[in-house]
Subunit: 187 residues, 2 copies
DNA sequence: CTCATGTGAGACATTCATGTCTCACCACAC
DNA sequence: GTGTGGTGAGACATGAATGTCTCACATGAG
């Protein structure tokens, strides 16, 4: 693995547990000198920006491939297929949050205009899918689809935190999130 | 209102939208000089610590009074009462997150040993309540109670974000969170 | 061997938030 | 009027993170 990749990978992992890590911290986490980090990334913004872009790439890829056909406003109206797609989507999201969990709440990324614009476009695409699922009777339609989008986001944050604190096992976490998204917590 | 209270109130509100705000930002948000802030709070840590303590006070107060009797491990086994208590708890949490939403994800507070210890104690108390609700058949018992605790936390983060972005109206948000916690998003 | 490349270590300057201090001002009580 | 307390504005110092630069070293290709 190239040094650049090693830095990105280590930073990704380290930022999940230490969101306020300095460049020196990230360099140490990657096992390289601080100057080496600056050779590959002009500054902290560029490093974070690269990680943010990758997290968005992953998100987009997930939306493109979830359920085989991908996710979008022109989704099928077949309830069973939508259900399966939703299932796959959550499984992929949990896996993604394992790698890019820090991006869910990172202050710098949330404040970056470029990142926010892309994130909002992907979010709207996801919400359009939830709307399709509502029309097909897969998701309840007495709440705004955009709220379902936010709720899924919140549950991914919850999953990341539960994992970080060791409160739940990694194995099976995707089923936990999926059933919570669908059925909630009532008996 | 005293200047000190004005600073705290303004900082609370400002931090929800700008988590990385500097002392100068917070002073400007309160409409006072930067020196005045330092007259009342020795440093940023003290200001944030005070806000964090207040958010924990609010949380504790909510646990003490939710459902009239409060929330704890020795809760009643009466299902209907537990349901009502859960309802009240969520309503209060949503109201609280309106004021102390920033505390849910603030990096400084999460890293503060004192704050974390108190937060964990309150969280455990809350989880004990969820366990009681599971035993009474109010909450599903095929998932760990601690996961329900994290899920509630995540949905409060979601509510804060949805509100911040103007995606849902403030009015009725507590019902939205409650029904999502209980029933999830399935039709 | 020789050279090019990438790296580690460290010195150095810069920037920014922070914290401290002084001084003038204003409102208010006396 | 006079004094007092709280404030605003700004100067100043400090520390941490950042960004730049140089030099020595290791590795691998030629």
């Amino acid at each position: 693995m190239s040094t650049r990749e090693a830095i990105l990978t280590a930073a990704q992992r380290h930022l999940t547990r230490h969101p306020a890590a300095s460049m020196a911290d990230l360099a140490a986490a990657a096992g390289v000198g601080r100057a080496t980090v600056h050779r590959h990334f002009a500054g902290r913004d560029e490093l974070l920006g690269e990680l943010g872009a990758r997290s968005l790439d992953r998100w987009e890829h997930t939306l493109d491939h979830a359920g085989g056909t991908g996710v979008g406003p022109a989704a099928t109206a077949d309830a069973e297929q939508l259900r399966a797609c939703l299932d796959d989507l959550m499984t992929r999201y949990v896996a993604d949050s394992d790698d890019f969990g820090f991006a869910l709440t990172d202050t710098f990324l949330l404040g970056s205009a470029e990142h926010s614009a892309r994130a909002q476009a992907l979010f709207e695409r996801e919400v359009a899918f939830y709307e399709a699922a509502q029309r097909a009777g897969v998701l309840r339609d007495d709440v705004p689809a955009v709220w379902i989008g936010h709720a899924v986001y919140g549950l991914l944050v919850a999953a990341r935190e539960a994992l970080r604190l060791g409160d739940v096992p990694r194995r099976g976490l995707d089923r936990l999130v999926l059933t919570t998204v669908l059925q909630g917590g009532a008996a």
